[in-house]
């Protein structure tokens, strides 16, 4: 049997019975009633409460830590500091990781953990951490990435040298890397241009804003086995990294993921888990750590702040001839911002022959960045699509036509080397132009913006198991997380392949002892990759079902076919046998031959890229600068929507997160380097009444590498959002903003500037 990677079995004319419908999620009711068990919902006998002491300083040498008073407090069972963590070389992967979990030589941001206690109650634990005496030598700090690049800026690590530096390569620096990405000859491209637009942009860091704060329980047994229960997007990666920083073999760490109350990339790396393990080891009892919302803001990863310049040129007919970018990405105290995504994705969707991109990753004294939906790309597309819009305006071309003129087609070879199969970018643009939203004139006093976005979509290492019970029903064990409805989609794909109702399938998120390695749930990969693995596993079961029928009927195996959930003789010549259902065969043969199961482990390839177009209308209050988003339409190529309502929810959620990022969300630091708005009151995520209903138009250009044509859908939705809102505001007030977030006070200044320049529309 050929691997699904070679033969997906995609059939564009197939009549699908389950895929494309909207069954109720199997995990839905428990979430509505409150029965679902999230990270904080596990309780073990004798469990202790862990609390973390955090640095109040953005940059300080930790001269000493005295935990004696905390240890003497009745009820305190263990205390850990940097001394309890194995030494890992500074600047190495595990070295950075362990230092971010627990500060070692220095505290590098407000909220950096410096010690932790486990106690019999939260009250005692809170009291205990206040008894820990930390002697700091406060150092000058730097948070702004452009400031951090300047000579004389406070240096976070004396060992950092800029990779790819073109000058002063031996100098101490906060710049980890200078990355150059080129295609063709940008100088020649700009010479060919009739119109050149160059603008500078910046964006503030924002947080993923998941509803569920990180929570975990660790139980370290006397014989060195570790059980961890936690909310995570990456149970296997957690296990492997816990192994790497704590020097415990992988097989002795078992990570069981809980239900996940949102992640958006922010739960791909751990925070409390290693601390809970060490506290548990010292206390000989299970330890639970639940972060508060304040800790989530002060201690976990937001996205990169950026500062960048985009320059693009086009001919009078609209052909983009060249693109240039110079970008700075803020990374927190350690490398790992995933800024390399930006050069590969920022212009990708337009067929531009000459590209020259320079990108810098810069360390600074703020929380270490973590992944967030299309990491490091949306905040750059904010600028790119602003420049694209301005070019279209300058040559007086319709903004969608301009993008269509430059849109990539099937078979395009990208700047990162991949050659695409069938893609849906042009189709999304066409449907955008045909949409009711675009055809409806902009209301008086409002502005409209268009923008587009691309995301790679990923595959990757995936392992899952599909088991047929003796009654013929199906259980599936997966090792990825369910961040947005993947369990129901996986159930549906299995049901479709096996020809059974979806209610006969249940998916369980297994622990790390039960399956082979699964890559993190990220990159819009999960429903695609697990779908591939599960369909492959179902096919293995079908082969076994056919084999058992052949044995029962005493006919050759190729005399048995499987269709519509039934095993039948391939033709009348094979014999007159009554077709058998999966349940029939399982009932008759499980006890004699053993269970029927299929499991597949593979590095899944063939993910099809995703594209989206946004159309946004806004109204900007002339006298306060407040922006209301009045209408929002997303047109996105989803390949094939397995569960259309789930896909629609993903798209709407992405757009709404983007609206928050566009309008108000930002980290605000005081002069002292402390985070000023560590809570949802002053970290202004949108509330329901801040956003209109987001209309979706799902375009289905199938990805033939997947048996049902699926493409990842999770990340594209946020990519064009802030750009679309920015373009709409620009249309409304006459000057296109260049700084995120586009908060009221900034917009009021721009309105006044537009009035002074005589370009205010209103």
């Amino acid at each position: 049997m050929a691997s699904i990677l070679e033969e997906s079995g995609f059939n564009p004319g197939a009549e699908l019975k389950v895929v494309g419908t909207n069954p109720v999620k199997h995990d839905g009711l428990d979430k509505v009633t409150g029965r679902a068990k999230f990270g904080a919902d596990a309780f073990l006998p004798g469990m202790l409460v862990g609390k973390i002491l955090r640095s109040p300083h953005a940059h300080a040498i930790i001269k000493s830590i005295d935990t004696s008073k905390a240890e003497a407090l009745p009820g305190v069972k263990s205390v850990v500091t940097r001394d309890d963590f194995p030494e890992k070389a500074a600047g190495s992967g595990p070295g950075d990781m362990t230092r971010n979990i627990m500060a070692r030589e220095k505290a590098l941001y407000d909220g950096h953990p410096v010690a932790a206690v486990a106690a019999t109650s939260e009250r005692v634990a809170k009291k205990a951490i206040k008894l820990i005496e930390v002697e700091y030598e406060i150092l000058p700090h730097v948070i702004d990435p452009v400031e951090a690049m300047k000579p004389g800026a406070p240096i976070l690590h004396d060992y950092i040298r800029t990779k790819g530096a073109v000058e002063n390569e031996d100098a101490q620096t906060n710049v980890t890397e200078r990355m150059v990405t080129q295609l063709g000859d940008a100088d020649v491209g700009f010479e060919d241009a009739d119109v050149i637009v160059e603008r500078s942009f910046d964006s503030a860091p924002m947080h993923q804003g998941y509803i569920e704060p990180q929570a975990c329980i660790a139980d370290y047994s006397e014989d060195g086995q570790v059980e961890v229960w936690c909310c995570t997007q990456a149970p296997f990666v957690y296990r492997d990294r816990l192994s790497a920083i704590l020097d415990i073999d992988c097989n002795k760490i078992n990570v069981q993921q809980s239900e996940l109350g949102g992640g958006f990339g922010g739960k791909t790396g751990f925070y409390g888990e290693p601390i809970a393990i060490l506290l548990s080891k010292k206390a000989s009892a299970a330890v639970k750590i639940v972060l508060s919302r304040i800790e989530v803001f002060r201690g976990t990863g937001p996205v990169s702040g950026t500062s960048y310049t985009i320059k693009m040129g086009c001919k009078k007919d609209g052909t983009i001839t060249a693109a240039h970018a110079n970008m700075v990405f803020q990374s927190g105290p350690y490398a790992g911002s995933m800024y390399f995504n930006a050069p590969n994705a920022m212009f990708t969707r337009y067929d531009i022959k000459n590209v020259d991109i320079v990108a810098y990753e810069v360390l600074s004294n703020r929380q270490k960045v973590a992944s967030f939906r299309a990491p490091c790309v949306p905040q750059i597309v904010f600028g790119v699509e602003g420049v694209v819009d301005e070019m279209a305006r300058k040559i007086e071309m319709d903004p969608i036509d301009f993008r269509m003129k430059n849109a990539c087609e099937d078979g395009h070879t990208t700047i990162y080397g991949d050659t695409w199969g069938p893609i849906g970018f042009i189709e999304t643009l066409k449907q955008a132009k045909e949409s009711d939203h675009y055809k409806t004139p902009v209301k008086a006093g409002e502005g409209r913006g268009i923008s587009t976005g691309f995301w790679f979509n990923r595959g990757g290492e995936t392992a899952a198991s599909l088991n047929l019970a003796p009654d013929g029903t199906v259980t599936i064990a997966i090792g990825t997380a369910d961040v947005a409805g993947s369990r129901i989609s996986i159930s549906m794909m299995a049901a479709e392949e096996l020809g059974i109702p979806v209610d006969q399938v249940r998916v369980k998120m297994a622990d790390t002892n039960s399956l082979g390695f699964n890559r993190v749930t990220a990159g819009s990969r999960t429903t695609f990759s697990v779908g591939m693995v599960i369909v492959d596993s179902a096919r293995k079961c079908i082969a076994e079902l056919r084999g058992r029928a052949a044995e029962m009927w005493d006919v050759p195996e190729d005399g048995v076919i499987f269709e519509d959930g039934m095993v039948r003789p391939a033709s009348a010549n094979v014999g007159d046998f009554e077709p058998m259902s999966i349940a029939d065969i399982c009932k008759k043969t499980t006890m004699s031959h053993g269970a029927i199961s299929g499991h597949t482990e593979m590095n899944v390839t063939g993910a099809g890229p995703g594209f989206a177009v946004n159309i946004v209308d806004v109204k900007v209050d002339e006298n306060t600068g407040r922006t209301d988003v009045t209408r929002y339409t997303v047109i996105q190529d989803v390949g094939k929507a397995i569960h259309p309502q789930q896909v629609e929810g993903q798209i709407q959620g992405g757009a709404i997160q983007g609206v928050g990022w566009a309008l108000n969300e930002e980290y605000i630091y005081g002069e002292d380097g402390r985070l000023q708005n560590a809570g949802f009151l002053d970290y202004r995520m949108p509330v329901a009444s801040d956003v209109p209903m987001v209309d979706t138009i799902m375009v289905e250009v199938p990805n033939p590498a997947h048996p049902f044509g699926l493409r990842g859908v999770g990340e594209v939705p946020v990519v064009p959002t802030m750009a679309a809102v920015g373009n709409a505001i620009g249309d409304a007030i006459g000057i296109r903003p260049t700084s995120l977030p586009m908060s009221p006070s900034k917009m009021l200044d721009i309105i006044e500037q537009a009035k002074a320049e005589g370009v205010y529309k209103g």
Binding site: K126, R626, N664, D682, S689, P744
Partner: protein, 289 residues
């Protein structure tokens, strides 16, 4: 952080003695929507929490000859649902309606909003504009004070240890009166005012403004009563010139800080805008009755 004691006295005297005895370590607890948040954020660490909701009258609304009195701990949703109060003082209700969510308003009260001492409290400016009077009880007996005399700085009030507000009294409304509250927030709700404006005006039969009170929130260490802004309206038909003058007086009265919620310049600029819009709403209401 030591153990906290919870008390729910059933008379004003019992509450007063608990509060007086515990002094600064006591916290008056009505809806708890600020107190609980502050405890969780470790901003306060009270030794005793005195829940005043069992004190008789503290959640009652009464009316006598057009003058209303309501208990300081009356939840916002109860005030909003009260037909007489909300039709007589729609501006006070504007402010209450903007506090938190429905769930929060199901507990939060004006007494708590005022005594939390935030310059950005949404219910305080219209209460000041309304000439509302606090009926205060304490170790030295009963006293009254106008709402504008309560907040003395961010988180600080003029109440002495052992004192708490039992109820608020609102004067009888003359004909052609209207009040309104508007605030500026980046979000539509669940937010804290960058600028808030409470307005209360009375017109004569010809539409000339005979009385006005204008109070601003979030633009100074305390909610402000801006007499100059009111003076700009009194004696006018509240025309464009008067409104402009009123706005200028509001901006001039501002003494804000730049913080995470807005810059000083932005607050000064928008105070005039929000006050003007609030006056326009109050004016419309005044003309309707």
């Amino acid at each position: 952080m030591d153990d906290v004691r919870y008390e729910a006295p059933e008379s004003p005297d019992a509450a007063i003695s608990l509060l007086a005895e515990a002094g600064s370590s006591a916290r008056v607890f009505a809806g708890g929507t600020d107190v609980m948040v502050q405890i969780h954020a470790e901003l306060i660490d009270p030794g005793v929490i005195v829940d005043i909701k069992k004190v008789p009258g503290i959640m009652d609304i009464s009316e006598s000859d057009g003058a209303y009195t309501f208990g300081a701990a009356t939840p916002g949703m109860v005030l909003m649902a009260h037909e007489g109060l909300s039709s007589t003082w729609p501006g006070i209700i504007d402010g209450v309606a903007l506090i938190g969510s429905i769930q929060v308003k199901g507990r939060a009260s004006i007494g708590g909003n005022v005594c939390n001492g935030s310059p950005a409290a949404d219910s305080t400016p219209t209460m000041i504009a309304a000439n509302a009077v606090c009926n205060i009880v304490g170790p030295n007996g009963e006293r009254t004070a106008p709402v504008e005399d309560i907040v003395t700085g961010p988180g600080k009030t003029s109440l002495v240890d052992g004192e708490f507000i039992l109820s608020f009294s609102l004067p009888k409304r003359p004909a052609h009166s209207g009040d309104a509250y508007l605030r500026l927030t980046p979000r539509t709700e669940m937010d804290i005012a960058v600028v808030g404006a409470g307005v209360n005006i009375t017109l004569d039969d010809d539409g000339t403004c005979t009385a006005a009170r204008i109070s601003l929130g979030a633009v100074a260490p305390t909610p402000l009563l801006v007499a100059e802004a009111a003076d700009a309206l009194i004696g006018t038909k509240v025309d464009d010139a008067a409104l402009t003058k009123m706005g200028e007086a509001c901006s001039a009265a501002c003494n804000p800080i730049s913080d995470k919620r807005g810059t000083k310049e932005y607050r000064i600029k928008t105070a005039a805008v929000i006050a003007r819009r609030a006056v326009e709403i109050a004016l419309e209401r005044a003309r309707e009755n």
